[in-house]
């Protein structure tokens, strides 16, 4: 009862196309038997099979062509895109999941709520990372297969990318500095006013401050203040990091994109909150313009939707433009030449 050889041969041929299995099986088994004496010991069989190598390797040699999910030509691009998409998807899940779960907690106790938010958000992040991975991999598999016949791998010299503009690859220091100052001053002022519930419309009657009404619904504002602070800190650290690095490296790009994406998501989530506006304020405005509260709310709603779309499109455009900037400057030949010159001096 010795079927080690048969099992080895089977393990090889089961990895081959069906129409080759019978013949390879017969030939391989015959060759293996030839390598052994008539009544081989298990030890001798073991040695011969080990000399033939892993069944997987042997099968791959029989098939001839190497199989890839994503071939080596595309692998670098695949990893790059995967990283970026994972960061963007992860950030989206973090912010949107975090806020959604924070606004509708099931738990009663404060610790229950914290754990619920952490757990559910982590689940959201893992879900969306898997989705990102699946989508990117699927697209690259298609691209790779499409190129297998050499259809797209032909290239025309006129389609080669332009050399990177030496002046552009550096991050504008002034722009980053201004952004940092604006974030630190106006950003923190805005958050402070929100926190103190002082974002309000002030009515002035005959030079006397008559009445102030908070613009936003205090309960929503209280939820969002810590999130706004987090986004502000992220943006500030992204700006500082940009100033330090001075160039669009992968880490700078990742942080910058994460900050901008989060900012867009938080803003959109904030303005689309159903009861964002203080009811008293809406009432007052409706009375002032002599319209019904409902029709006023409808109009405000349309304006908010338009704003949300504009913010999303803007964020998307920024992501694309930053990605182009970074991908374009992957080959810093000029920098290298400069370094060589410096060394020579």
């Amino acid at each position: 009862m010795n079927n080690t050889i048969e099992r080895y041969v089977y393990d090889v041929v089961r990895r081959l196309p069906a129409n080759q299995r019978a013949e390879v099986s017969l030939e391989l088994e015959s060759n293996i038997r030839e390598m052994l004496r008539d009544e081989p010991t298990e030890q001798e069989i073991e040695e011969v099979l080990q000399s033939l190598g892993h069944p997987r390797t042997l099968a791959s040699d029989y098939r001839g062509n190497k199989k890839y999910l994503v071939g080596p030509e595309w692998f670098d691009d695949y990893i790059t895109v995967l990283k970026i998409v994972a960061i963007v998807f992860g950030a989206i899940a973090l912010v949107s999941g975090g806020i959604t779960h924070a606004l509708n907690p099931d738990s009663e106790t404060i610790f229950g709520i914290i754990f619920e938010i952490l757990g559910k958000t982590l689940g959201d992040i893992i879900d969306s990372l898997f989705q990102a991975f699946a989508v990117v991999t699927f697209i690259f598999i298609i691209v790779d297969r499409a190129n297998k016949d050499g259809r797209v791998m032909k290239f025309e010299t006129k389609n080669l990318p332009n050399l990177p503009d030496k002046t552009k690859k550096n991050i504008s220091r002034l722009g980053t500095f201004i952004s940092l100052i604006v974030n630190l001053t106006i950003g923190s002022l805005f958050i402070y006013l929100l926190y103190k519930n002082m974002v309000s419309i002030i009515w002035i009657d005959g030079g006397i401050v008559n009445n102030t009404l908070p613009l936003f619904n205090p309960s929503i504002v209280q939820t969002f203040v810590p999130i706004f602070i987090a986004v502000l800190l992220l943006n500030v650290s992204s700006d500082i990091f940009k100033l330090l690095k001075g160039q669009w490296t992968a880490s700078v790009t990742a942080l910058h994109l994460a900050a901008r994406v989060m900012q867009a998501i938080v803003t959109v989530l904030f303005i689309t909150q159903a009861s964002l506006l203080n009811p008293d304020f809406v009432q007052e405005i409706a009375t002032f313009f002599d319209v019904s509260v409902n029709s006023l709310l409808e109009n405000i709603h349309i304006v908010i939707i338009i704003f949300a779309i504009l913010i999303s499109v803007g964020a998307f455009a920024e992501i694309i433009s930053v990605l182009f900037k970074t991908l374009k400057h992957k080959i810093p030949v000029e920098m290298f030449k400069d370094e060589l010159k410096k060394e020579r001096k």
Partner: protein, 113 residues
């Protein structure tokens, strides 16, 4: 430098000549194991795991022809050069000798320093 790198380059260097070695021994028909033995005897051993798939691949490309011998208690698949294989062998052999000449010229013999 790690011995792996040495081994890898040696394997790569040998791989190119494998096909010539195999074709050169197939003017008369051979089955997998007999060819394997022949190559070992002549000092140009090729691993069994490499040789068997190689024979099959050459056959599928029309370089070798095969026939099954089922008269013995164990069936054997015999391979020999096809006409196309003969032409390929001549061509590769010419190229090979040309390369040996050119490479020898450029490296200029080995000095033991």
């Amino acid at each position: 430098m790690s011995s792996d790198i040495y081994t890898n380059y040696l394997v790569e260097l040998k791989r190119g000549t494998q096909i010539i070695v195999v074709l050169s021994q197939l003017f008369d028909k051979e089955y997998g194991y007999s060819l394997l033995q022949k190559l070992i005897d002549k000092g140009v051993a090729i691993e069994a795991g490499t040789l068997y798939p190689l024979l099959r691949r050459l056959e599928s490309q029309g370089i070798l022809i095969s026939e099954w011998d089922t008269t013995m208690n164990r069936p054997r698949k015999y391979y020999s050069l096809s006409e196309e294989g003969l032409k390929l062998y001549d061509y590769l052999l010419d190229e090979y000798f040309g390369m040996v000449k050119d490479v020898s010229k450029i490296v200029g013999g080995k000095n033991n320093e």
